[in-house]
């Protein structure tokens, strides 16, 4: 058996430990082959496991590989945010300039680091989201969907890597109370994924729920990609309250979590998604 490697299980998009989306982190993964990484990611049963490697490209601070229990991903938001935090935590990068360059299978990814109340908050630039021409099925265009009233925006399929149907509802309360028919969502074109959202009454926080039965996830607790698509959609529609460029999204409360994602649309229209990260488990792994 090889030497134990440093292991962390962090909670991403979490205002407190346990509220967000867990991520397994294996440091010093040079020497692990693809099969070993895939086998460990399957064994952890977490939505993603990341493996740290020395950078291969000039300018990169570090390199990661991202695995789900089933396959390697070229890029994903929540693992990238968690990995950036883990890189700072381990001293692999210092983030003193307020930026990191993370290398992953999709290429070089800029990461912004902001500091607030002693916390380090990474944010990653999300791939550009685009609305798709796919017409929405009739049931999704009806005035009421799953017994909830629709909001002003027409339902649309968006793509920023993964594809999600985005559906605005009439109120945050309707989002929280929604009881969706997962079989209908699973049959949606584009992979069977639907996100619903609405502003809270004060217009401060966007309440989001994400259902992905098409990929075996009834409801996801904290989804970087879908929130980035929603931000792009709201920006394009001019529906960001007060023309703001920054807001918070609340997700996962209905399934026992309470994640908070921070969204920012920069001057170029790029969407940045980030949040708090907590190291819940620290140890060493023998694999």
């Amino acid at each position: 058996m090889s030497q134990p490697r440093r292991f962390l299980q962090v909670d991403v998009f979490a205002p407190r430990p346990g509220a967000g989306n867990p991520l397994a982190v294996v440091h010093d993964a040079a020497g692990m082959d693809d099969a070993a990484m895939q086998a460990f990611a399957r064994w952890t049963n977490l939505s993603e496991t990341v493996f740290f490697l020395p950078p291969a490209s000039a300018g990169a601070d570090y390199r990661i590989r991202i695995f789900t229990p089933r396959m390697e991903l070229p890029f994903a938001g929540h693992p990238s945010v968690g990995a950036a935090w883990a890189a700072l935590d381990a001293g692999i990068a210092d983030g003193a300039s307020g930026q990191l360059l993370q290398e992953c299978a999709a290429g070089l990814l800029p990461v912004r680091i902001s500091r607030r109340a002693g916390l380090l908050l990474p944010a990653v630039r999300s791939p550009r989201a685009r609305a798709q021409a796919q017409p929405a099925p009739d049931w999704l265009r009806a005035p009421r969907v799953f017994d909830a009233g629709r909001g002003a925006l027409a339902p649309q399929l968006w793509d920023n890597g993964p594809q999600w149907w985005l559906l605005e509802l009439e109120s945050a309360a309707a989002v929280r109370a929604l009881q969706p028919d997962l079989a209908r969502i699973e049959a949606l074109p584009g992979g069977g994924k639907l996100a619903v959202f609405a502003w809270d009454p004060a217009g401060q926080v966007l309440v989001v729920r994400a259902f992905a039965p098409g990929v075996g996830i009834p409801e996801d607790p904290a989804t970087g990609s879908v929130n980035a698509s929603i931000a792009a959609c709201l920006h394009q529609a001019g529906r960001l309250p007060g023309g703001r460029s920054h807001y918070r999204a609340s997700q996962g409360r209905e399934i026992g979590r309470d994640a908070v994602l921070e969204l920012e649309i920069d001057g170029e229209g790029e969407v940045w998604v980030g949040g708090q990260v907590h190291a819940v488990i620290r140890g060493a792994v023998d694999w």
């Binding site: 460990f40 488990i281 620290r282």
Partner: protein, 293 residues
């Protein structure tokens, strides 16, 4: 914030990744039910266990087991994995080769066998009763199993705390190649209040005498389990009932999980009193600490 020891182990495994994962908090003092459930939801593992000092005479330690959704009264793989962590942490010592686990299901003994570097831990499982066999069950059952070429013994429903349908395949190759009909398995599980189907074949593997696949199709979800201690215990009781135990002296080894990317081994033993012991080896994969508010 409190830092507590946290161990991830692989149960029914002779190497990391072969068995069924389990998270163990060997010192859970001070955690309430809500915190334990929240941790078990967050680990996302089939089970997370919490160890407390024993409260009953004769117990080595007390245990609570949680799946991501609820507390589990008894399950085999968490019991075996937790005993390994308790021994590694020096929290208890076996007396005459036995540890006694205190849980919701009462006091249950675990046998610890050390052979060189390999340590096998087996739990005595609750006595399983035959509920019905397919002879009486009729065509509904046979339709629900028509994806599996059936072997010699009739399908049987056993109750060992949780109920399992046990279905013998005609041989190992057809068991491993079988494509389960999930709809039929779920319907059968719901209609009979059972976990699902444990399909098996008596065989002559390299180091095992039974190959098994566990298809969970009831309220617990719909998946193939990597290594099922309690289900295999009901199978051992069934084979003993039919005088069909493979191996020698009531001992045999099971291969399970290969079809879902694992490669577990379970060591089953039906002793002279007819008690069924379900066990195997355990490998520590992650040793660390958890910081939970």
């Amino acid at each position: 914030m409190a830092l507590r020891p946290y161990v991830l182990v692989d149960v029914f495994a002779d190497r990391p990744g072969a068995g069924n994962p389990l998270a163990v908090l060997p010192d859970a003092r001070g955690l309430d039910d809500a915190a334990m459930q929240a941790i078990a939801r967050w680990t996302r593992l089939p089970e997370t266990t919490f160890v407390f000092p024993p409260t009953r005479p004769g117990a080595s330690y007390a245990i609570r087991m949680f799946s991501p959704r609820r507390e589990v009264p008894f399950a085999g793989h968490p019991s075996v994995g937790t005993a390994h962590v308790v021994l590694e942490a020096g929290l208890a010592q076996p007396q005459d080769g036995l540890l006694v686990q205190e849980g919701i299901a009462g006091l249950l003994p675990l046998r610890v066998d050390q052979a060189g570097d390999a340590r096998t831990i087996a739990i005595r499982t609750p006595r399983a009763q035959l509920v019905e066999t397919a002879d009486a069950g009729g065509s509904r059952l046979l339709e629900a199993l028509d994806w599996l070429p059936l072997g010699q013994l009739p399908p049987a429903l056993m109750d060992g705390g949780r109920r399992w349908w046990l279905a013998e395949a005609v041989d190992e190759a057809s068991l491993r190649a079988a494509q389960p009909d999930w709809e039929a398995i779920s319907g059968l599980a719901r209609a009979t209040g059972s976990m699902g189907v444990l399909a098996y074949a008596r065989c002559h593997g390299r180091d095992y005498q039974v190959a098994a696949r566990a298809f969970v199709g009831g309220a617990a979800g719909m998946f193939e389990d990597a290594a099922s201690g309690a289900a295999n215990a009901t199978l051992a009781a069934w084979l003993a009932l039919r005088d069909a135990l493979p191996g020698k002296g009531g001992r045999y080894r099971v291969s399970q999980g290969r079809e879902v990317g694992h490669d577990a081994r379970l060591d089953m033993h039906v002793d002279a009193e007819g008690e069924v012991w379900s066990g195997g080896q355990v490998v520590s994969v992650v040793r660390g600490q958890i910081d939970w508010p």
